[in-house]
């Protein structure tokens, strides 16, 4: 698929980032659904004793699964970088690309590092006071599903860029699909209030519908990024032997424009 040998394939960086994206999302799904079994999430109405039992039932999975995220979680940056690159290819201001990059880069700490830390701390001392364990349980699940604004605004930024774009880097229908993803972050807000029912963090709306939309959205954008790379035309020539030695603001822009 990547075609050509390493030296002459002008798309090699894009393909590496794309394969790393696929690897990251596969790891992510396996860790959350299979290894840690934190998706579907635990019950928000659990009392301290039930939470303590939940932690002991998930003990090894939590520690091993989140250790894998501690080691490999930074690969998430590859999809952010590819999407940022896709926005740079669009006929819109660079402000869109940089906004997307910064929003998703800072989302990593509250969006997935917190759940890894909270669940690891909870699992590492099974004898801890159950009331404290429930505090960690809430921190883990709510920081994970309740870090909303970054994905809300980030999706809207990407959507707006796609809808304004004249280069047709992404189809317009995918622009509207970003709106669906943004809406999942709206309907998850009540999970900060409700302890049970459709709007709680494990409920039909706040979890089941959201996870289906997010899964579809992710699958679609990974496929569309692949199509973008396939369509990218850098010509067949070898890489430049001498890259620009030093670039100021003007030259940097020219470089990206050429890419």
């Amino acid at each position: 698929m990547t075609g050509g040998d390493g030296r002459s394939d002008p798309k090699r960086e894009l393909w590496l980032a794309w394969y790393a994206t696929v690897a990251f999302y596969s790891l992510y799904a396996v860790v959350f659904f299979v290894v840690t079994r934190t998706q579907p999430p635990g019950k928000p109405w659990y009392g301290p004793v039930e939470v303590a039992a939940w932690f002991s039932g998930h003990h090894r999975g939590l520690l091993v699964g989140f250790a894998l995220i501690f080691v490999l979680g930074g690969l998430s940056a590859t999809s952010i970088a590819l999407i940022t690159y896709s926005i740079r290819r669009m006929s819109v201001s660079r402000a869109f690309a940089y906004s997307y990059l910064i929003l998703y880069a800072i989302a990593a700490v509250p969006g997935f590092l917190f759940i890894c830390v909270a669940m690891t701390v909870g699992a590492m001392r099974p004898g801890r006071d159950p009331a404290v364990l429930r505090w960690l349980y809430d921190l883990g699940f709510l920081s994970f599903s309740g870090t909303m604004g970054v994905f809300l605004v980030g999706s809207l930024i990407w959507m707006t860029a796609i809808l304004l774009d004249q280069n047709r880097v992404f189809p317009k229908w995918f622009g509207y699909m970003n709106l669906c993803n943004a809406l999942t972050e709206v309907v998850v807000a009540p999970s900060w209030i409700f302890h049970g029912g459709a709007l709680a963090w494990n409920g039909t709306i706040a979890w089941w519908i959201n996870v289906v939309v997010f899964g579809l959205y992710t699958g679609v954008f990974i496929t569309l990024l692949r199509r973008m790379i396939l369509r990218e035309d850098f010509g067949r020539g070898p890489l430049p032997d001498l890259a620009p030695t030093m670039s100021g603001p003007g030259e940097a822009a020219a470089e990206v424009a050429a890419a």
């Binding site: 989140f66 940056a77 970088a81 690159y85 880069a105 590092l113 701390v121 890489l239 032997d241 030093m246």
Partner: protein, 235 residues
């Protein structure tokens, strides 16, 4: 007289910042030797009662200066512009993790400071803050690992006659990434090499970070442009 470039200012601030990091590291009473995860809640609470001031001073210093790594990482990102890449995607990868790496550490300083804020609270709660601090500090490596991996790939792909960084710098980054990996597993055990105070999770990991900063500073210093010319028009 030659003018000093902005990049040189950032670069030569690094030794000063490194002095702050070293001072904070030595000042924190729980690093030499590292606190054991096997301490009882009562002993952890006693530690914060006995060393309240030193915990506060050291962690305020870290809180102030740990993020000073970001401008140095941006100097590396600027050097990546000179690499024989066709797209900026690898640069975006590094930028994408450059902020989160020190912010993860900053988060651990907040937990340490919280532990020391009310030393007379229930010991189980002080132990909770202490655990959160140590796990965030020890296991919060995903972005550092990623920086090393992204840099290694970038350097391997910089195939030109005079590459920005030598190929050995790529091998070196792979080695550091590998040295950081065991720390991610620190939650699995309270004793031994993988525990947060163990040989791998504390000593190997932190020495690796220190060596990485030192070596990358040297190669970065060599790759910095010496003169103003060629820097383009001043913005």
């Amino acid at each position: 007289m030659r003018r000093i470039t902005g990049e040189q200012v950032i670069f030569w601030a690094l030794p000063l910042v490194a002095v702050m990091w070293l001072a904070a590291f030595l000042l924190f009473p729980g690093f030499l030797p590292p606190m054991s995860p096997k301490w009882s809640a009562a002993r952890v609470a006693a530690f914060y009662r006995d060393h309240t001031s030193r915990v506060r001073y050291s962690m305020v210093l870290f809180n102030w200066f740990c993020v000073a790594l970001i401008p140095v990482l941006m100097l590396i990102v600027e050097r990546m512009r000179g690499m024989a890449h066709r797209t900026p995607v690898l640069r975006y990868c590094v930028i994408g993790v450059a902020g989160a790496a020190p912010i993860a550490f900053l988060t651990s300083t907040i937990f340490w400071l919280l532990a020391a804020f009310r030393p007379d609270r229930a010991p189980s709660l002080t132990q909770l803050y202490n655990d959160l601090a140590w796990i965030t500090f020890t296991c919060g490596i995903p972005f550092l690992v990623a920086i090393c991996v992204f840099l290694a790939v970038s350097i391997y792909l910089d195939q030109q006659d005079r590459p920005v960084f030598g190929r050995w710098v790529a091998h070196f980054n792979v080695l550091i990434a590998v040295a950081l990996v065991p720390a991610g597993f620190a939650g699995l055990t309270l004793s031994g090499a993988f525990a947060w105070n163990g040989l791998l999770s504390f000593w190997v990991k932190n020495v690796a970070i220190a060596v990485w900063i030192l070596v990358m500073a040297v190669v970065l210093g060599r790759a910095l442009p010496r003169h103003h010319e060629g820097l383009g028009t001043p913005a």
